[in-house]
């Protein structure tokens, strides 16, 4: 008894030690990446001194005025052929920092250096070196994930990594046009299989979840073909990050389906797990009772998942919309040409979520009930 207690305490201490090691490792890694340009071979300069001058006032679209500043920046070259040289350059920004942002003392910047005739270096800043912040953020995420949900967190991570790797491989094998004519269909199947196996393991309910999420995705696909594709309401060439000569309609379709895939798989596996649990407890449960309990669970999932989608899309479309409102765009224009992409994604995602509930319920009853009855 005492020994068990001691072991328990040891395990607890071990958890603390692991956490401590993780945090230390993260700190070390962050500092290391900060000092070395690990992810890029561009020249790094560090800002040492900034003189800010106000250049005057400019009008904003809403008839107020706003200051324009110029920064006279002195910086030290940190690596490359000109290491140690002190360089100067100018940088302009507005108080609202829409297009260009202001630099701060101590910032590390990527820059292009060019030797000029009069021995001066011409500096073109490319951007802030922010990789160490991302290392830090990723580290916080990983430590949190493992601390909260040890093994399962690892499986989720594994599935994301496998998915990303497969996605990259498939994209690389063919042209973009090829990809959007047939490969992305395979990709959806692969995503489903990999993610669900990693989440639920080798089990009959996993099979049920895969079948039901694929069926739901198929239904959403059909719905997309019937509604969105038929209407001319979507201004594809106004999509953000529009690249010319690309099968833009197909890309949008893929983005709609990928967007709701996660939520659909989530619901499918939850319902399958709940039904198999119920059947384990009460093997002789009637189909009617089963449907009743599925309904009860489904309400909870439906409301949470639709909300998650809503906020995700609201947040991601916010910056551009705010800018457009500030530029005096009318609301109907914003809705018709900017918001519509996220609205379509959100609505089809929600429909997918709601549809997934009866579909996976039926599949679960068909797959699991029969076996349970046979066993009984």
């Amino acid at each position: 008894m005492r020994r068990a207690k001691k072991m328990k305490r040891q395990i607890k201490n071990k958890k603390g030690v692991v956490l401590l090691i993780g945090v230390l490792l993260l700190l070390f890694l962050t500092l290391f990446v900060k000092q070395h340009s690990f992810f890029s071979h561009q020249t790094v300069i560090q800002v040492t001194k900034i003189n800010t001058i106000c250049l005057g006032k400019d009008k904003t679209p809403s008839q107020t005025s706003e200051n324009r500043y110029e920064q006279k920046i002195t910086a030290v070259v940190k690596d490359g052929a000109y290491k140690g040289r002190v360089v100067t350059f100018d940088h302009e920004y507005f108080a609202s920092e829409v297009r260009t942002q202001k630099y701060r003392t101590g910032d590390y910047l990527y820059a292009e250096l060019k030797q000029q005739a009069d021995a001066e270096l011409l500096v073109t800043p490319i951007g802030v070196k922010s990789d160490y912040y991302f290392v830090m953020l990723g580290g916080i995420f990983l430590i949190g994930l493992f601390f909260v949900s040890k093994k399962r967190g690892g499986m989720v991570l594994l599935s994301i990594l496998i998915n990303a790797f497969l996605c990259w491989g498939l994209v690389k094998t063919g042209t973009v046009n090829d990809f959007f004519s047939y490969t992305w269909g395979f990709l959806i199947v692969i995503f489903c299989v990999v993610t669900l196996f990693c989440a639920a393991g080798w089990h009959k309910k996993t099979l049920g979840a895969i079948i039901s999420s694929l069926l739901t995705i198929g239904t959403v696909y059909l719905l997309y073909e019937l509604t969105v594709k038929q209407s001319k309401a979507i201004p594809y060439d106004l999509m953000p990050y529009y690249a010319p000569n690309m099968p833009i309609e197909k890309i949008f379709q893929a983005s709609v389906l990928f967007g709701c895939l996660g939520a659909i798989m989530d619901i499918a596996i939850t319902i399958q797990a709940a039904v198999s649990e119920l059947l384990l407890k009460k093997p002789l449960i009637t189909t009617k009772e089963l449907v009743q309990s599925i309904r009860e669970i489904s309400y909870d999932i439906m409301r949470t998942m639709t909300n998650v989608l809503l906020f995700s899309y609201l947040g991601s479309s916010l910056p551009l919309t705010v800018l457009q409102i500030a530029n005096q765009y009318s609301l109907s224009v914003i809705f018709r040409y900017t918001f519509i992409f996220d609205v379509v994604r959100f609505l089809l995602g929600c429909i997918g979520i709601v549809l997934c509930i009866p579909i996976s319920g039926v599949i679960a009853v068909m797959l699991l009930k029969r076996r349970a009855v046979r066993k009984a």
């Binding site: 679209p61 994930l145 994301i160 890309i251 389906l257 949470t304 705010v322 929600c350 709601v354």
Partner: protein, 270 residues
């Protein structure tokens, strides 16, 4: 087309969820209206910090209280959502400011559609970026929180003698079950959103090196990482706060009073 999809969604939600489906549909609509109004007010140039606090209070009111009623679990979720929003707000502020994630990114700056937008806007971009990141994770945070606190309330209802430690542990265990699927959902939503961006990079033949310097890419990555981190953070916060609130006498007295009032109101209705 949009109208047709909305009608279809309404019918499906009513069919599948019944009365409760109607409630969740109304919640969705209310949240959408609050969000739109807040975006519009932000665009006019009202103070983003105050606007964010008011709008998230309203979001919580609608999502937590309207859907679940006023109980211990909703109060705990309310508190923990705001604690996490505060912590994440600080993190987003520091990282967003220092790595210049706010404002237009490198691709938006050269894009044809953005040419008409003026260089000045009269609105500071850093707070807008923070609001956008916090909103993106707000939905997931609220839902994770309520999904942890409501089973915890069930537990103390069935086992009033449970110790603090056990209660905390069971809260964490529930969180463990939820976190995997939430992270999956968030990553796939982000994938759907960033597919255009990925294609853009492919079309312009970006190298890995240029990709890692590209602000548009970093913004997307930051969004996923911030939302997932928030979702993880809310689990211990909710479990801990629930145990605290459950143990404190003042809170318990307060809830007893409220329950009495609710019961009286119910009797009156009958």
């Amino acid at each position: 087309m949009i109208l047709f999809l909305i009608v279809l969604l309404t019918i499906l939600m009513l069919l599948v969820g019944g009365d409760k489906g109607a409630i969740s549909f109304i919640t969705l609509i209310l949240n959408f209206i609050i969000g739109m109004t807040a975006i519009y007010l932000l665009g006019i140039g009202l103070n983003p910090v105050i606007l964010f606090i008011i709008s998230s209070l309203l979001f919580c009111q609608v999502t937590l209280v309207y859907q679940n009623g006023f109980h211990k679990k909703t109060v705990v979720s309310y508190l923990s959502v705001f604690v996490v929003l505060g912590i994440m707000g600080c993190l987003i502020f520091v990282i967003g400011q220092r790595s210049q994630l706010y404002g237009m990114n490198d691709i938006e700056r050269i894009e044809e559609n953005m040419r008409h937008l003026s260089k000045t806007s009269g609105i500071k971009m850093l707070p807008i970026f923070m609001v956008s990141m916090l909103w993106a994770e707000l939905g997931a945070i609220m839902d994770t929180s309520i999904s942890i606190s409501s089973p915890m309330q069930e537990i103390i209802l069935h086992q009033p003698q449970i110790t603090k430690k056990q209660l905390l542990k069971s809260g964490m265990r529930i969180g463990k079950d939820i976190i995997g699927t939430t992270v999956n959902t968030l990553t796939f939503v982000a994938l759907g959103e960033s597919i255009m961006l990925i294609i853009y990079y492919l079309a312009c033949q970006y190298t890995i090196e240029r990709l890692l310097c590209s602000k548009a890419f970093l913004q997307q990555i930051a969004m996923v990482l911030f939302s997932c981190t928030g979702c993880i953070l809310i689990i211990p916060v909710t479990a801990f706060l629930f145990v605290k609130v459950n143990a404190s006498k003042r809170w318990n007295r307060y809830f007893e009073k409220i329950e009495k009032k609710q019961r009286q109101a119910d009797d009156f209705d009958e």
